[in-house]
Amino acid sequence: MTDAGRHPRITLLTQSEVKEITGFVGNFHVKVLKRARYVKEKECTACGDCATVCPVVVPDEFNVGLSSRRAIYSPFPQAVPSSYAVDINHCLGHNPIICGKCIEKCSKRCIDFNMNDEELSFDVGTIIVATGMEPFDPKALDEYGYTRYENVLTSMEFERLINAGGPTHGHVIRLTDRKIPRSVAFIQCVGSRSPQRGHPYCSNICCMNTVKSAIMLKEHYPEIEVKVFYIDIRAFGKGFEDLFRRSKGMGVRYIRGLPGSVRQDAAGQDMVLTVENTATNELETYRAEMVILAVGLEPPAEMKHIQEMLALQKTSDGFYLEAHPKLQPVDSASRGIFFAGCAEGPKDIKDSVTQASAAAARAMRLMNPGSLTVEAITAEVDEELCTACGLCAKVCPYKAITVDVKARVPAKVTEASCSGCGTCSAECPVGAIRMNHFTDEQIEAQIDAILAEEPQKQVLVFACNWCSYAGADFAGVSRLSYSSANRLIRTMCSGRIHEKFIWRAFEKGAPVVLVSGCHIGDCHYINANHFTERRIKRVWKKMEKLGLRRERLGLEWISAAEGIRFQKVMDDMENLRRTVTPDEIEATQQILLNERTKATRK
């Protein structure tokens, strides 16, 4: 920690939040809001004189509320930067009539209430997302009585109690009578491995954390009785099984079964746990003077903001989705953005550190050459066809198109800013925008080829590269089986799907067509899928007007992690396809042919 604080090449921005990130790999533009500390970070010596005179007392977050701190405080003794900070939400202010005591007390004069929040802007080549996790809050699991009974604690609270630097200087005491408990019970999987009671996934660290805590208790108090209630102990890592065995050798008792209820006894001190012991098949009752809930890990709430800013994807667990589960475990699907630590999934310190070094190496590999090539999937304008209507510039999520509507100057694409979604090309009313590598001709050739043989048996699917196509791949990796009627056409974004592709498919005899993309808000191209939605709604209206069944055109949002959803959508589409008769297909073709003739006559 101190190394990071004083490294000449690390700029440390604490009390800071990333507000905005634009640009692309190699050239990200970042805006950070740095909140005022009201203490000059470089000058404060952390002597602590200021805190001795501060009259405001609030719960100390670092000790999870088990002790208190002042409104001017150092978060913990080894904090980096080693500087006090003013908790401005609780501080009484610097008006000398009301308070301002700390300013007087500070002999170095480093408290400055005139500091302002700052907005900092800078550019970087790569980004590492290490936003971590939050411990699960067990209040909702009523049977364990957390907060109802003072002697039921979470593993985080226990961690602070047994810590020599904690509020009790490492003495584990129970909160009701400040006595060292003679028996402690740990309950595992609190908030983990249960879709109904917390999260369906295993939080990875809680088994070993409990084993560690149990050993520490036995080392501190050899006479103490320690019981662990568990489903199964997952001691899979290097040295883990040894540690687990050591705890058993020290007398820690493991009981297979999670308590159904935790109650306080009549004296209001000891806890009574009722558990179905699945090893003995007996309903058993145990007494413990203290109960520790081994809480799981969950994604932090503020992850959403970063996810939206960087167009990242999440798994169904809520953690970030890596580009490939085995071959690119620290890369995001967006080039130049990497994951480290629990942001990608619950893991212990060793795995976090390993992953962080991997992410750093991946970032270096990308930056070291000094330049990189970007995929040549960019839009181009045919100036002869362009009528300078300006529609393309309006829909471009990257503002990569300039057009002067008044002066009738044709549109121009800035290649370096174009990310290749193809929304402009799908929006252009005169076909003047060529989306390279995903041209109209190429996509139409695929539609024609797919529908060239037995079109009545096909489910034609347009899938975006980043979400729905990746979701289909995920269904494959998971070996989910579904109807084989579908034929996918991959485009980079669902925004690329021009209305005319859909009409062409129906003209060629497609019974059903599906357009699929990223969920709204998760689009890899900022908001391009809003235009997909708008376009499909337009086609639906026209279908209704022409007397076509609008449900024959589907629109589904499927994320890269939703293999199961992809499977279901494919089966649903196949069921829908079976309802479309040859007569209906023929009638559709006739209606569209008539429309085309009318349009040509005009």
């Binding site: 883990f240 270096m364 190429q442």
Partner: protein, 202 residues
């Protein structure tokens, strides 16, 4: 605007990968290769054990030279996995990497229709037909080279963020480490001992 080049001269090579039994277990790869030979523009088609393997790639390169192929279709796994591999392969044989097209007959075919050999084979044929039709119209593309800033933003100052920042900074890259709390350290700083070695966390 660059005019697209003429497409009627396409000489396409098609490669159907068995991926061991991953694809061949559900798809009749020989039949798909035989079908591919009947498609317009296809000069040469063959099925292979593992197209991504060294011998598989060498075969493609050899065929490009021998048959004068100028478009390649690889029917194997997802382009999200091996598109870079085969782009590199064809460019080593002197072909523009954008003249390579993939048909996904593993993740989106053999792996999800493993009990329906007939359906899977028909689907693989259709996907190859679609890929060949697209390959015929592919254009030469040149990638734009952009400069990369040699600096990194690390979001989050817990143990992972600190480690990543230190590795990068030690290697000579400037790092901005952003943390929302007044101190870095994250959850790790709150722990006393850590498993399995029971050493101190800070």
């Amino acid at each position: 605007m660059q005019k697209p080049e003429s497409h009627d001269t396409a000489r396409i090579g098609v490669y159907i990968c068995h991926c061991g039994s991953n694809i061949a277990g559900a798809v009749d790869c020989e039949a798909v290769a035989a079908y591919a030979r009947t498609l317009p523009g296809v000069i040469h088609a063959r099925d292979q054990g593992y197209t991504c393997s060294e011998p598989g790639q060498a075969q493609i390169k050899q065929d490009i030279r021998e048959f004068g192929l100028n478009r390649i279709v690889v029917a194997s796994c997802s382009p999200r996995l091996h598109e870079p591999t085969f782009r590199k392969c064809v460019s080593e044989a002197g072909l523009n990497p954008y003249l390579m097209e993939m048909a996904n007959i593993r993740e989106q075919c053999s792996w999800v229709h493993s009990l329906d050999r007939e359906g899977a084979t028909t689907k693989a044929r259709d996907l190859v037909r679609s890929a060949v039709a697209r390959a015929r119209l592919l254009d030469v593309r040149t990638e734009l080279e952009v400069p990369v800033r040699r600096s990194t933003l690390v979001i989050g100052g817990g143990v992972a963020g600190i480690q990543a920042a230190l590795d990068l900074a030690d290697a000579g890259y400037p790092v901005v480490l952003v943390e929302k709390q007044p101190s870095i350290g994250g959850i790790m700083a709150q722990l006393d001992k850590t498993f399995p070695t029971m050493d101190c966390s800070i």
